[in-house]
């Protein structure tokens, strides 16, 4: 379970997150929506332990992530996978080596065992043909899939997705969404997804929270969000120009 208790964070004079509290249950797919710069990625980075909040606490299965030592953070991160917006592939390693990296570095299993796991994950994301390619030779969508394969290679309990479908064509977006659903259905993974792709959010979410200027202004099931009377939520989900949100 992931818990954020009254988390606030400011960068310089700008308050990025203001007194945010949320609880994400095990096995749940929780989607955070909001405008660019609303603080969505900052929340994700707090959960991953890259940022410590100015106020409040971030707990993963009851263990405090903020202020934790390197060893505790490493232990907590072993439970997590993170799909970065750009894929964040190591540029001098090919696709296969990128996916194998966490297993090789932590010496998890024999060489044959590692090969079996990596080949399996590549096949799952339809990347077997690209195994020998370098990150510079593959498309943005492929990079994301490789990033996802690397994020799930150690079978994490929690996966954090930063804009998993941004810059992808609709078919590829649907494929990534399908992967996220399958992770939840087949492996019981807890997913936290940051996106402003409403189609994707409705497809994958158990619950959706909308962040506006660092504050959660609405949280509920996709149907509740769709039928929300909050003018900010209405304008955002409809992608309308008229409303209280300034473009």
């Amino acid at each position: 379970m992931i818990e954020l208790r009254n988390v606030s964070k400011r960068f310089g004079s700008k308050i990025v997150i203001d007194d945010v509290s949320m609880t994400i249950e095990n096995g749940e797919t929780f989607v955070i929506i909001g405008q660019s710069g609303a603080g969505k990625t900052t929340i994700l980075r707090h959960i991953a332990g890259f940022f410590d909040p100015d106020h409040g606490d971030v707990l993963i299965d009851g263990v405090k992530m903020n202020g934790a030592g390197r060893r505790t953070k490493t232990k907590l991160r072993e439970k997590m996978g993170f799909l970065f917006q750009s894929g964040a592939l190591i540029n001098w390693l090919n696709v296969w080596d990128n996916v194998a990296l966490p297993l090789v570095e932590h010496r998890i299993g024999t060489a044959a065992g590692i090969k079996k796991i990596v080949d399996e994950k590549l096949a799952l994301l339809q990347l077997s043909d690209a195994a020998d390619k370098m990150p510079s030779d593959i498309s943005g969508g492929m990079k994301k899939r490789v990033g996802l394969a690397r994020a799930i290679v150690r079978n994490p309990e929690i996966i954090l997705y930063d804009e998993p479908t941004s810059g992808l064509d609709p078919v590829m977006s649907a494929r990534i969404d399908d992967m996220i659903r399958r992770m939840q259905g087949e492996l019981g993974v807890t997913s936290v997804v940051v996106t402003h792709d409403m189609g994707s959010a409705y497809r994958i979410a158990d619950r959706i929270a909308m962040l506006y200027q660092g504050v959660i202004i609405e949280c509920g099931t996709p149907d509740e969000i769709r039928e929300s009377t909050n003018p900010y939520v209405q304008q955002f989900v409809e992608g309308s120009l008229s409303g209280p949100i300034e473009a």
Partner: protein, 271 residues
């Protein structure tokens, strides 16, 4: 009038604030770099596991820079012997050129020239490479995979530099002295035999030790400053460019300053 006073007050406040910010960021950077050196030393217990990466970095920083090192060392030695030789010849003292050459190259120029070349060649590349990794979230990805970036990236680079800078320094000394031999033979009338005999007589173990110690310290300075700048890069391509520039300038300055203090420690100086 009141407005003018308020304006000047705010100007003074801005000035102190920006000076304070710069000082704080310098202190933070220095602390980060020193800590990085210690962490890399601690992580060097995993050096055998990372031997492939170390060899790759040795090739990148050492072997690939050999041509530049050769040209700089040869012509550096030739220029040095030409200047001193022409002056000494006026007094009939051109025989002293080999002694001067081996002393200067061994004590100072060998390690200094190598450090300067490798700062531009490898230090800049390290800062740019790690900086690009930082701004494209690859360092974060490593941390997320519980892979220690110091063990994975910094330690192999530091060890490879600690092996290659002393090796290239010796190479630079040999080529520099050879450059001096060429000028002495063709322009000063010394035979190669006389030149090398005098060089051989003037080689001191202490000088060699000081030269190698300097090159080892320079290797740590260049790699740590370059890696620290790369790891602290932010703001996209602009930040990577800044990190590269700052790493080269800081490394040059530190090589000069620390170089002086090592010389002063072994040969006496005012500080």
């Amino acid at each position: 009038m009141k407005e003018l006073v308020q304006k000047s007050q705010s100007g003074v406040y801005d000035l102190f604030s920006s000076v304070g910010d710069r000082m704080l960021s310098q202190i933070y950077f220095s602390g980060f770099t020193i800590l990085l050196i210690f962490r890399a030393i601690v992580e060097s217990r995993f050096a055998f596991r990372k031997w492939r990466e170390i060899v790759k970095q040795m090739y990148v920083s050492g072997v690939k820079s050999m041509l530049v090192c050769s040209i700089v060392a040869l012509f550096g030695g030739m220029i040095l012997s030409l200047h001193t030789g022409v002056e000494l010849k006026k007094w009939g003292q051109q025989d002293a050129v080999p002694i001067l050459m081996i002393n200067v190259m061994n004590k100072e120029m060998g390690s200094f020239l190598t450090a300067i070349i490798l700062t531009a060649f490898s230090g800049a590349a390290m800062a740019a490479e790690l900086g690009t990794m930082k701004v494209s979230e690859e360092i974060d990805a490593l941390e997320m995979m519980s892979i220690n970036p110091v063990r994975y990236l910094v330690m192999p680079r530091m060890i490879s530099m600690m092996l290659m800078v002393p090796a290239l320094s010796i190479y630079t000394v040999i080529l520099g002295v050879f450059g001096g031999a060429l000028v002495s033979y063709f322009q000063l009338g010394l035979t190669f035999q006389d030149y090398y005999h005098r060089v051989y007589e003037s080689i001191w173990v202490k000088d060699m030790f000081v030269g190698l110690l300097k090159s080892l310290v320079f290797a740590v300075i260049i790699s740590s400053i370059s890696c620290a700048n790369g790891l602290l890069a932010e703001n996209g391509a602009l930040g990577v460019g800044r990190a590269t520039r700052v790493s080269v300038v800081s490394s040059y300055l530190m090589v000069l300053i620390i170089g002086y203090f090592i010389t002063s420690l072994f040969y006496g100086g005012f500080m």
